[in-house]
């Protein structure tokens, strides 16, 4: 078994530490980005929903500002965004290079996408259900947390999984600014040094991460669909 691995993945085996380190870096970036972009994205998504057309706090001005803001950030290609936010990253993290620094552009790149996904999930909540809750004297707080988020749970999980898989995808690009991770590993060793087995191994690991994410997500979607 061991000899077969050495035969098929010679560079992976000889640089095993690098592979595990890259994997940890990817997990680190995915985790922090998911947390930060998740919180910002869900907040924006809720704001878009409640200030949007037929929302419980419909406000055309606020909505159109938010809407345009989200659209503008979303339209910047991520690889350009990486370079664009360097000054901001320096202010926040103190450096613009490294795994921690990569979390800033990742979060900025991901949250507008997630916000839009959250908005799409929440507008699906039947307006009649919202109306019934309003008629029974619910506060806006109850409407958001007790109705929108509760009724939208399974749809929110679904879009979160889509986004999370997107984040895994984005982290691969973070290598461009020295962020490390599996994407960086595949390029700097696999591609640049013709160590093809590294590229394949990185791909396989990412594939497994995506599959695991999807499977866990699907399980919770099923659990929350009634």
């Amino acid at each position: 078994m061991h000899s077969l691995l050495i035969h098929l993945f010679p560079n992976v085996v000889s640089q095993w530490n690098l592979v595990t380190q890259s994997f940890t870096e990817t997990l680190f970036m995915v985790g922090w980005t998911a947390l930060i972009a998740g919180i910002i994205g869900i907040s924006f998504g809720i704001l878009l929903t409640i200030t949007g057309p037929k929302g419980i706090l419909e406000n055309t001005l606020v909505y159109s500002v938010l809407d345009k803001f989200i659209n503008i950030i979303r339209s910047v290609p991520f690889i350009i965004l990486l370079a664009l936010v360097v000054p901001l990253t320096r202010i926040i993290v103190g450096t613009s290079i490294g795994t921690i620094a990569a979390i800033v552009p990742l979060s900025i790149g991901v949250f507008p996408f997630y916000a839009r996904q959250v908005q799409n999930a929440l507008v699906e909540v039947d307006s009649g259900i919202i109306e019934a809750a309003q008629a029974s004297g619910s506060s806006n707080f109850d409407l958001i947390f007790g109705v929108y988020l509760k009724e939208g749970t399974s749809e929110l999980i679904r879009v979160s999984i889509v986004t999370l898989i997107g984040v895994i995808d984005f982290t691969a690009m973070a290598g461009a600014i020295g962020g490390g991770g599996l994407g960086n590993l595949a390029i700097s060793l696999g591609y640049d040094r013709f160590e093809n087995d590294i590229t394949i191994a990185a791909t396989l690991i990412i594939l497994v991460m995506v599959l695991v994410t999807q499977t866990i997500g699907d399980y919770f979607v099923r659990r929350t669909t009634h």
Binding site: D126, G128, I129, E131, A132, A133, Q134, A135, S136, G137, S138, S139, D142, G146, V147, K150, E151, T153, S154, T224, H226
Partner: protein, 362 residues
């Protein structure tokens, strides 16, 4: 403020919607007073403004003009917290039930009790009590998707009652249900009206529902109330055309007349016969009219169609009959019927009789 017996008092309500180029008047200068403990029907075709009008009561729809007094409280003067409290005292049920799919039956019923001062135990007891009231005790932990339409509406009713409201607004609540389920929901509403002294406002396009449980009704068309009256008068003497149409849908007598008129013996009515429709209210029904016609005038009456209904214990009858006999006798018989407070409509008349009466159709 003067205390009175009104649960709802809407005065000169206008609701206008601005669309791109024009303004739509969904509710046009409507004044509506509903007494406490009443079951009040609001009838009209889709788009007549019924739903918009009742949404003004709990201010889900703010009026463009007019004043909204509910339980002696000026709704338009309330702050948002006060308004939320006032809304808790106005239950509402809907055509599509609007239950939360992510919560169980108990979760739906308990939702309006969030932020109340009740303990978990008290809320649980309250939910049990409400589910018993609507007959769904065994469905407590079920999700709405597993319930039938009638059961969903019962859950919605229990939810609407969770804050012990004084008023229940039913917005087409039976329109998505089959006739049998509709009937059982209406029976439930009527019993709640009795048990809890709940004022019920029933919006519907089904006149049968109004007939079954309402005491009073208003008919809406183009954002206005075109007719309002107690239920006996609405059904027995509808004044405007649209009310007549609605009443006809409930008693089916017009359809019966159409099929009678298509019969061959009616197409070729004998010269000494007359086809009439009799409509009578109250005690007249008890008198043996038909026997009387024969005994006094030797006129035979042949019943072709008819129905008698009890509206709030007042019988209202419709009869389609052929009178036949000697022309003069028939003339006297018709006079006699009119004297009895029976509304007589001549549908078709034989020539002999026509010449005696002098063509004066009545």
């Amino acid at each position: 403020m003067i205390k009175n017996n009104l649960a709802v008092n809407l005065i000169n309500i206008d609701v206008t919607f601005k669309q791109k180029n024009h303004v739509i008047k969904a509710v046009d200068d409507v004044t509506l007073k509903i007494e406490k403990g009443d079951i009040y029907g609001i009838v009209g075709y889709s788009g007549a403004g019924k739903s918009t009008l009742v949404r003004v009561i709990n201010l889900l729809q703010a009026p463009s003009n007019g004043s909204v007094i509910v339980n002696d409280q000026n709704m338009l003067a309330l702050h948002s917290n006060q308004l939320r409290y006032a809304r808790k005292k106005i239950g509402m049920i809907f055509q599509h039930f609007n239950l939360m799919n992510a919560r169980t039956v108990a979760g739906n019923v308990a939702f309006p009790l969030r932020k109340s001062n009740l303990t978990k135990k008290q809320i649980n007891d309250k939910v049990d009590q409400l589910l018993a009231l609507v007959g769904l005790t065994d469905k407590k932990l079920t999700y709405p998707s597993q319930l039938s339409g009638g059961q969903k509406q019962r859950v919605a009713i229990a939810r609407a009652l969770s804050n012990d409201p004084d008023i229940l607004i039913s917005d087409e609540a039976t329109s998505a249900l089959d006739p049998k389920t509709t009937k059982s929901i209406l029976i439930l509403l009527a019993s709640l009206n009795q048990k809890l002294n709940l004022t019920i406002i029933l919006i519907t396009h089904e006149m049968q529902a109004v007939k079954q449980i309402c005491n009073n009704a208003a008919v809406m068309e183009n954002g206005r109330i075109v007719e309002r009256n107690n239920i006996v008068n609405i059904f027995s003497q509808p004044e405007v055309k649209i009310t007549q149409e609605f009443v006809a849908t409930a008693n089916q007598i017009d359809e019966a007349i159409d099929s009678v008129l298509a019969q061959p013996n009616i197409k070729h009515l004998k010269t000494n016969e007359v086809l009439i429709k009799l409509k009578y209210i109250g005690t007249v029904t008890d008198e043996p009219i038909i026997v009387g016609l024969y005994k006094q005038f030797e006129v035979t009456a042949n019943i072709l169609a008819g129905n008698v209904e009890n509206l709030k214990d007042t019988p209202v009858g419709n009869l389609v009959i052929i009178l036949s006999g000697q022309a003069n006798n028939v003339k006297h018989a018709l006079k006699f019927l009119e004297g009895l407070d029976v509304k007589v409509t001549i549908l078709k008349i034989g020539n002999d009789i026509k010449s005696v009466i002098g063509g004066s159709k009545r």
